[in-house]
């Protein structure tokens, strides 16, 4: 084809075809990435606004307490790791 030996034709046209198929496969397999991220962002936004309105109402929102407790726990874990030698990066290098 095109005056080329079959092996060269495969090299010139076969590889691009493989990459087209790979790209199409990638788009199909990851079709949920955009939708799920949007859903998660909307959910997170809704939770944030709910927590803001609850805060205005007086009592601290429950999930906020949970997340601060979790963050607190993570910090103390990081500190103990740090003392144990495996220091997390942001502690190693103060900015």
């Amino acid at each position: 084809m095109f005056g080329l030996p079959w092996s060269t034709t495969l090299l010139v046209f076969g590889f691009p075809l493989i990459w087209i198929l790979y790209t199409v496969g990638f788009l199909i397999v990851t079709r949920d990435w955009g939708r799920e991220e949007e859903e998660s962002s909307t959910r997170a936004e809704r939770e944030r606004s709910e927590s803001r309105s609850e805060s205005r109402g007086g009592g601290a929102p429950r999930h906020k307490e949970e997340s601060s407790t979790r963050a607190e726990r993570e910090r103390s874990e990081s500190r103990s790791e740090s003392r144990g030698g495996g220091a997390p990066r942001d502690k190693e290098k103060p900015r």
Partner: protein, 522 residues
């Protein structure tokens, strides 16, 4: 000197500088994250095109044309891997690296490696290898720029090289990732227009693709073979694998390219960017090789095959169009050179100077370190490029082979393998660098028929797996890294409590709280 060609080239520089200034103003005020990563706000089209134009350097117009002119269709093995390099990179590490780098609060590719494989040694080794190899890589862009400028202006090579160097360095000082990304975007379009134009003109001149192949077969039938002119590479699958791997899998190890993942607007940007990258590559990548082949018919007695594409353009196109093609060639050179210099400068200032020499360095001092290094690279590059300029294809393939061998397994395992630990990553980076350099300098590729990148990638991959497994009990992966990796497997935004510790905008606040807690503990 052709005034019309020169006028188009000047017009091109004015437009690029204009876009650079606009992007710089747009990105101003975003702090260090804004400067180095464009505030992590780059969309899929710009991500894809900056990724591609950065990786397609002056090599595509000088090296690729020269390889095709001298070896025939064998050179298309390089294009075979290159076409899929963008989508492979984005699909395998793009989304996860974007997320992990933000959780870790990393702004450079080397900082990211240290965050994932915590140890000062990780950073010292990665930064040293990167600075050395990227500086060598940028040398190829200087040589390409000098040769192009010599042809356009008619000035002696020494002056042409000096002008090209001055333009590249001034342009890099313009500053910032956003300026680089948006000028790359424009330049990728110029490159595409230029290469398609010259391919169409060359095909029309020789009577079409089939007629060209038949004419090549009359000169030497082995030019059409996948084993190269005179079947010089017959059965040498190790070299073929190297040609395919260097611009596909090896591409995942180039620090100046993977930084593009970290700057994406959202992790899912990788998806569309992958599709755009493939589309652009399908149109662009094979064209310079085909023009190099057609140059055998159009200009059979070229003294310097590296100038094949330049001279085909001059021979076939009207001056105004030659100006556009020349602009495309300079675009390819500059879009890579600025990224390489920006990356080398930021690694030297942030990952070496601030991290190991002067931890209290101000941002202004770091900018000066970065600029001084860029000037030093320019001065050394000028002397080397003037004395005995090596072939552009050799420099680019050698440099990218080292980068791929040294870093691709470390970047890959950073997001995909929870057991990949610090000793494993260090062993991988050191062995990949040493093996690929030794293989090339000792001339082992020919007797063994194995390309340096094939051996380098194999050895560094084995090293990260074996050393990580052997040292798993003595150097386990820290819990905070495992938690961050776990988060990258999930779709959706990063939880606030993880962001608070990592987002550079919130970092001072988070560190203040942490230090207060530490004080109260004591």
């Amino acid at each position: 000197m052709n005034v019309t060609v020169l006028a188009f080239l000047v017009l091109y520089y004015v437009v690029v500088l204009g876009i650079g200034f606009w992007a710089m103003r747009r990105g101003a005020g975003g702090g260090l994250e804004g400067y180095l990563l464009g505030g992590r706000d780059v969309g899929p089209l710009v991500t894809a095109l900056t990724l591609q134009s950065t990786s397609m350097s002056g090599y595509m117009f000088l090296g690729a044309g020269s390889l095709a002119y001298t070896t025939g269709y064998w050179s298309l093995w390089f294009a075979a891997g290159d076409i899929g390099g963008g989508v492979l990179n984005l699909s395998i590490i793009g989304r996860r690296m974007r997320k992990l780098s933000q959780i870790m609060g990393s702004l450079t590719a080397i900082e990211y490696l240290e965050a994932r494989y915590p140890s000062p040694a990780t950073r010292l080794i990665a930064a040293s290898v990167s600075v050395f190899v990227l500086a060598f890589y940028v040398l190829a862009q200087f040589i390409a720029g000098g040769k192009g400028m010599e042809l356009v202006t008619g000035l002696p090579y020494a002056w042409a090289l000096l002008i090209a160097l001055a333009i590249i360095i001034t342009y890099t000082f313009l500053g910032g990732y956003l300026a680089v990304a948006y000028t790359d975007f424009f330049q990728s379009i110029v490159m595409l227009v230029g290469v398609v134009w010259i391919l169409a003109a060359a095909l029309s001149h020789v009577g079409g693709f089939t007629a060209a192949n038949l004419a090549l077969a009359e000169i030497d039938p082995t030019l059409l073979s996948i084993w190269g002119r005179d079947l010089a590479f017959q059965g040498q699958w190790g070299l073929v694998a190297g040609a395919v791997l260097v611009f596909s899998a090896g591409y995942m190890g180039w620090p100046h390219v993977v930084t593009r993942h970290m700057a994406m607007k959202r992790p899912e940007t990788a998806r569309l960017a992958g599709a755009y990258a493939t589309l652009w590559n399908l149109l662009f990548v094979s064209a310079p090789y085909i023009v190099g082949l057609l140059a055998i018919l159009i200009l059979p007695n070229l003294d310097d095959p590296e100038l094949a594409i330049f001279q085909v353009a001059e021979a076939l196109l009207p001056a105004a169009v030659t100006g556009i093609v020349m602009a495309a060639i300079m675009a390819a050179i500059m879009s890579t050179a600025d990224s390489l210099l920006l990356q080398t400068g930021s690694i030297a200032s942030r990952d070496l100077y601030e991290r190991f020499i002067n931890p209290k360095a101000s941002e202004q001092q770091m900018v000066w370190v970065s600029r001084l290094l860029v000037l030093a690279i320019g001065a050394i590059g000028y002397v080397v490029a003037l004395q005995e300029p090596p072939a552009v294809a050799f420099v680019v393939i050698f440099a990218t082979s080292i980068l791929g061998s040294a870093f691709a397994p470390a970047f890959f395992c950073a997001v995909w393998w929870r057991k990949a630990n610090t000793p494993g990553a260090i062993a991988s980076m050191v062995s990949g660098t040493v093996v690929s350099i030794t293989w090339e300098l000792a001339g082992l590729a020919e007797p063994t028929t194995l390309a340096p990148v094939t051996v380098g990638l194999f050895v560094s991959s084995i090293a990260i797996v074996v050393v990580s497994l052997v040292t798993q009990s003595s150097s386990p992966v820290p819990a905070h890294v495992l938690r961050a990796m776990e988060e990258t497997t999930r779709l959706g935004p990063i939880p606030r409590e993880m962001m608070a510790k990592s987002d550079s905008a919130l970092r001072p606040e988070a560190e203040e709280i942490a230090s207060l807690l530490e004080d109260s503990d004591q």
